[in-house]
Amino acid sequence: MWEQVRSNQIRSVILVAAMGILLLLVGFGLGYAFGNGIAGLVIALVIWAIMNLVAYFQGDSILLSMSRAMKIGPDDHPRLYNIVEEMKISSGLEKMPDVYIIDDPAPNAFATGRDPTKASVAVTSGLLEKLNRDELQGVIGHEMSHIKNRDVLLMSLCSVILGTIVILAWYGSRALLFSGGGRRSSSKGGGQAQLIIIAAAIILMILAPIFAQLIYFAISRKREYMADASSALYTRYPEGLASALEKISSSTYQLKSANQATAPMYISNPFRQKGKAATDLTSTHPPTSERIRILRSMAGGSFADYESAYSKVHKGGGNIMPATALVGTETVQFRAPASEAAVGKPEPGRMERTREVSDLMWQKSGYKIIPCDCGTKLKVPANLGRASVKCPHCGRTHNI
């Protein structure tokens, strides 16, 4: 059941290799058009290696700072921190990932970090406001699976290849168009053959990024299904993730800090468009409605249950899970939803959650929060320059 990490998913490996070959092809084709195929190959590999190093050592901090994520501790938002820890335990992860929060009303979340010992989970404030405990748990379980299965490493490997291809093709095609193909074009004779080579190179430059992107999307979608299945297994409660996805997809906010490069990291595609065809090749994520349908038709919490739910929704098609993950798994019982299981624990409502997150955001931007006995919460900026402050409602004075 926990073997899926080790059973190196052969299909993913083949797809990554295909992207690599595409990269070599682009490099070689470009070099060939300029007169030296091997030189082009070397340049492509050098660019790729540099980008890989940057992505490996700096990728997570670049992503986190680009999305303006703030790190939080166990006391800042106890519920979120506890849920991350719960999912860390149920996934059997060795080290607690860092928890980040992004001030953005669009509900979304992502995981990053090159290996399970150096991982981070980031959620937006919109997500914390909208989701209850079970739903949040489902989302965090999904992210935890990305960490546990080393999806982040795989996806950054792929996006680096994709990025290199795009860069090479962009500069290459322009160089070809404007220089007319390097020094060969100045020599006389064989003009026709020359033209054909340049035309072929230009076509390659145009098609390669598109193919690379399609492969990238295919890998990404597969990992999303895997993560959904793992979340159901970790939480034993697929309804949590299903209803979270429903809430996330019904939101009309667009994530401010996301861009094309970071899109596959999020739990739900930040660039979804309404009314788009259901099975879309050009998406990093499977259609949300389909993910919800699969989760809701699961009969138990195991990978085998996800597999059969998937083929039910897809009318026969299946094979989403690696075969080794299905060995020796019987149907796993669901658990009860948190609101029923935890007696005497009133689930905080939408309003309370919004207040909680808003207070946290004030605190994170340097404000001090002083609760007044009349129920008002005073938000005091750090550089107020006074020793005490008066409550605007009841007039009590508070020391800062």
Binding site: M1, P78, E86, I89, A342
Partner: protein, 191 residues
Amino acid sequence: MIALWVVLGIIGLLLIFFIFTFNGLVRLRNQVKNAWAQIDVQLKRRHDLIPNLVETVKGYRDFERATLEAVTKARNVAQQAIGQGVGAQAKAEGELSGALTRLLAVVERYPDLKANQNFLALQEQLTSTENKISFSRQFYNDSVLNFNNKIQMFPSNVVAGVTGFKQGEFFEVKAEAEREVPKVSFEPPKA
């Protein structure tokens, strides 16, 4: 000559298979041990939270003594059960869970207490600790299932048999009370 090489090759392959299977079994056994350690960490956390909880609740006038004492007693029993085997510990912890659930159900009748900031923070920690205990138990049982499957199934069972791997024990909740969700009554206590 060829026959000799074939025989040597087969022996070599068997040896490689043996090594890989053995290492796989060791890894799974370590995972089981590790998962057990995780449960212990969470159980200890719960034991540490209970004195806090009792202190917070004690301050409230005429809070049911019997319920509080039951929790304290169950905690002491659970602490003594540490190191007395999976079965004994599971039983004691199951009873502690039951006592805690009853306490939290009783709290429903005290609106002041429910609004107390200290108590609310404590309640989040308690709820989460309960979740963490059940998730670590879940991971432990999954690990044991995995390990036992490997020990029982062919061909790894041969290696396990020769090297003497023993099956792991599941952490099962004996106290039925813990599984049932107690009905919370919102009626005031009868005088």
